[in-house]
Amino acid sequence: MRLKLSALKPLATLPALLALAGCDTGNYRLFHPLTAVAKVQWWATLFEAGIMSLIIVPTAILIAWFIWRYRKSANAKYDPAWSHSLVLEVLVWGVPLVIVAICSLISIRTTLDVEPYAPAVLAKNPADTAPLDIDVIATDWQWLFIYPQQHVAAIDELVVPENSVVHLRLTSTAVVNDFFIPQIAPMIDVMPGMRTEDTFDTPDPGSYTGFSADFSGAGFSWMQFHTHIVTPAGFGAWVAQAAASPVQLSYQEFTKLAQPTVNEGNKPSYFSNAASNLFDNVVTAAQAGVVYPVPDNVTKQVASLEDGGTAATTK
């Protein structure tokens, strides 16, 4: 075989390099991972793209070259009977097999590393303190963050101290959402009547946008929340501010704010004295058949100027 595959290999890393060096990547949030978990995810992305490029790029170049070389007008060597070669057929199965084997190893390794319930990458570098537990409840169409240890809660604002490990329990009142903070936390489904978990670390202070990634009805496009990683002192001040809120978060209060609501601009609100078993109560209620229906007239009003506008569902 005179196809000189090896000569083309250095080309394989080109696309990744170009993507990184060629243009301003400030908007490309996934290119700038912050947490240990997100860094593993980005490394896996680069590695997978690189190793696949080893096979895809030479193949693309060879196809393009054959298209040019063997065009009819070129009068290149024509072999109308050639349709079988044992060596090549072993290779066409063997090469993808090897690549898939390598990718499988990477897959298993990184899947364990970033497993949302208990990421191995965080177990290797245990933080000094115990994880900060936060309960997350997705409603139609807001996010409620309950701090069981601090007995406070907030809507559409997640504030965590730096240099800690944050452990989330998540559920939903009505339909399925996806919890996601690019650069920080892996995506995880949020399902009614069920509990999922997500874990991330907080190396540096900063502000980020989290959002639902899975369509959940008319208010879905407005379902973001602010994420702030702050200093421990800042966290203490934030908790104190929330604890001073006159609104106490009982289950009865929760059932009111869990009605379909679009929070335009994601304006945060705070609650004191959050019931410590609220999360479990919400899960149990959903299992027992409690729903928060979205009638058609509510769906029709979201972000619509017909039929009386948006007032009915926005805050």
Binding site: S83, S107, L112, V176, T310
Partner: protein, 687 residues
């Protein structure tokens, strides 16, 4: 037992009221005006040229696999256009509704589509593209080509073939009807659960989605049975399994998938229907329901469905690349093995559609590796096509260009697919537009194969070629548009944009969203050239030889162009894998049969279209809960089936002299020609 529903209900009209007609929505009123105008022009033309009888006798009641295939393709193209407009509307909305200060028109706060409307548009786009465009287009192509390629007279069950077509058409009509009567589903083409349950989707939208798919998927299942039996039982003498063309192999594997996967979809939709109509709790979050059961079952159908679409596309490439390389396909045996390997693995990968459900590293790891295994046989296929080009003599007709472009789409779709198969990566791009860009590479590969196949086999069916000049412009504008739209979409995926957004909360995405919109405009240009290609070709109608390309290799190009309705005057004896190439080498490709034998043909019947239209009224009655209409339709369907089963029509026979006459004057035998009424065989004649 029946559940209470919101809003009024009357025994006569069910949930249907005047407010279901969206006469206040200017977009829908405009659409209706255009649709009504087209319908009037078509109906007027049929009546003016007195073609109503012809249309009924030769097309609507036909059992000819080629005519059924052509009608499948027409349905598919109409729906393809509809769903493209949906895509254009989505891209335009996202290009307009960026940031909190973006203006709104037509009653929307941002852009021109409020979520209520936008969500229906994106749900319709996906549902139609997959189930009512790609599926009928591919079914149409396999219907036309496979019996010709294996030297058969028709499908194994011609009547059931027509029934499949009209059930699919009934589903397509229901989807279109939801534009003008009521609403379509807002819960995505996958039917996001529990959004599709009554508390969150109390209207008729989900019912339209559910019954349209249910009815058409019965058609697809019946077609799968028909294809499998045809390929196993009706191959011409001499065509052993290792002489079966690769397109027929892929059709066989794809229909095995269809036969085993579509019933699951039927069951899952029926259970959802029970939840919505009878108040059961199969998929509710509470009361013992399990919503992830729906998601699992949907994708146990949904993932094989992806290969149901892509395998025939691979088959089309495997026909076209050898023809225009003037060489046999490289590695025929491994190609067939790879086809069945893909079909087999397709059953073990469904969970990768929801790696984020929190199943744990073991489950995700298993499905990750299973998914990546698909890459091996797919890689084999790419290499085999590549080596088919090697030392070939390549000519770049439009089918060849479409096929080659499809290879590059497969490479991009492949690398991104392998990335998505790794859970650690998936946790960052799942439900983002990165996934959308990835699977559009794959479905546009299918679209490329469909266009390649239509151009490649069109002259075989109609006896004249599609115009190459406009075809080239169509190809280049379409492919450039694809590159622009989906490169930008991959970029947006890395920027963290999620799918299904009616309103764009991050203004940083504006440049790429506008790039996408520019690409969509180029798609509009490609539609212009597609229509011009059809117009110029129909106007000029340059007749072609039996093998219009001169280098075709398989049996279907042995018979005449346009193909006679009886396919082959004499059933050919197959001598080689690439039969036509073999005959050309041995100087036999122009040989004509010396004597003709009687040909036994099936008679046309109106029962399939009647059952199809009754399925339409059954679906409409169920959607609007007009129980008398649903009950009457169901009863009428049962009666029609019983009547048909007592039908003693044994088909008719073409006499040898009749065949000889038609072989001398082929225009009289083409599928366009009107045939004289022929008397069915009597019981005595049949024996």
């Amino acid at each position: 037992m029946q559940v209470a529903i919101q809003g009024p209900w009357s025994p006569l009209l069910g949930r249907l009221t005047l407010s279901a007609i969206p006469y206040t929505n200017p977009i829908l009123v405009g659409t209706f005006a255009v649709a009504a105008l087209i319908a009037l022009v078509v109906a007027g033309a049929v009546l003016y040229y007195k073609k109503l009888g012809y249309l009924w006798r030769e097309w609507l009641t036909t059992v000819d696999h080629k005519k059924i295939g052509v009608m499948y393709i027409i349905v598919g193209l109409v729906m393809f256009f509809r769903a493209f407009v949906d895509g254009l509307m989505m891209r335009t909305q996202q290009a307009m509704a960026i940031g909190p200060h973006s203006p709104g028109v037509l009653g929307a706060q941002h852009g021109y589509l409020p979520p209520f409307h936008f969500d229906q548009v994106y749900s319709a786009h996906g549902t139609i593209m997959i189930l009512f465009a790609a599926t009928p287009l591919l079914t149409g192509l396999t219907n036309v080509v496979v019996p010709l390629q294996i030297g058969a007279r028709d499908m194994a069950f011609p009547y059931m073939n027509a029934l499949s077509l009209w059930l699919t058409t009934a589903g397509a009509i229901l989807v279109m009807l939801s534009l003008f009567v009521g609403d379509f589903s807002s819960a995505g083409w996958v039917g996001l659960i529990p959004l599709t349950e009554l508390p969150y989707s109390p209207g008729v939208g989900v019912d339209y989605w559910m019954w349209a798919i249910q009815i058409s998927s019965i058609g697809t299942t019946l077609n799968a049975i028909n294809m499998i039996v045809t390929i196993i039982k009706m191959r011409a003498p001499g065509m052993g399994w290792f002489r079966v063309p690769v397109f027929t192999w892929t059709t066989l594997s794809t229909n095995i998938i269809g036969l085993t996967a579509f019933p699951i979809l039927g069951v899952v939709l029926a259970l959802l229907g029970a939840d919505r109509y009878l108040g059961t709790h199969f998929f509710t979050a509470g009361n013992g329901g399990n919503l992830m059961l729906y998601t699992n079952m949907f994708w146990i159908w949904g993932h094989p469905e992806v290969y149901f679409l892509v395998l025939p596309a691979f088959g089309i490439f495997s026909e076209i690349i050898p023809t225009f390389s003037e060489k046999p396909l490289f590695g025929y045996t491994t190609m067939v093995a790879a086809t069945f390997a893909i079909a087999g693995i397709s059953w073990a990968v469904w969970l990768h559609h929801f790696f984020t459900m929190g199943a744990g590293a073991d489950v995700n790891g298993f499905f990750s590796i299973a998914t990546m295994l698909v890459g091996i046989p797919t890689g084999v296929k790419v290499f085999n096509w590549m080596f088919t080009l090697y030392r070939g003599r390549l000519t770049f007709t439009t089918p060849m260009l479409w096929a080659l472009a499809g290879l590059f789409l497969l490479l991009v779709g492949g690398i991104t697919g392998m990335m998505l198969a790794i859970p650690a990566i998936n946790y960052t791009v799942h439900n983002s537009v990165f996934v959308i860009a990835h699977f559009h590479c794959m479905v546009l590969l299918v679209a490329a194969a469909i266009f390649a196949g239509v151009v490649y086999w069109f002259p075989k069916v109609f006896g004249f070629q599609l115009d190459e000049k406009n075809g080239l412009m169509f190809f280049w504008s379409f492919i450039t548009a694809t590159a622009i739209v989906f490169t930008a979409m991959f970029a947006l995926g890395f920027q963290g944009e999620t799918r299904r957004l009616d309103y764009i909360f991050n203004p940083a995405w504006r440049p790429m969203l506008w790039t996408e919109e520019a690409g969509m405009m180029l798609y509009l240009v490609s539609i212009f050239y597609f229509l011009r290609m059809l117009y110029v070709s129909l106007r000029d109608r340059v007749p072609v030889a039996s093998d219009p390309w001169g280098t075709a290799r398989t049996l279907e190009f042995l018979t005449h162009s346009p193909v006679p309705f009886y396919n082959f005057a004499v059933t050919p004896q197959v001598n080689a894998r690439d039969e036509l190439a073999w005959r050309r080498e041995h100087g036999l490709d122009k040989a004509q049969p010396e004597a003709f034998e009687p040909i036994h043909m099936p008679s046309n019947t109106g029962v399939p279209i009647i059952i199809g239209m009754l399925s339409l009224t059954l679906g409409f009655g169920l959607i609007w809960r007009i129980w008398w209409m649903a009950g009457f339709s169901l009863l009428a369907i049962i009666i029609a089936v019983i009547i048909r089963s007592f039908d003693k029509n044994l088909g008719y026979e073409l006499k040898p002299e009749e065949v000889a006459a038609m072989e001398r004057n082929l225009a009289t035998a083409s599928i366009i020609a009107e045939q004289p009424a022929r008397t069915p065989l009597t019981e005595a004649e049949a024996h």
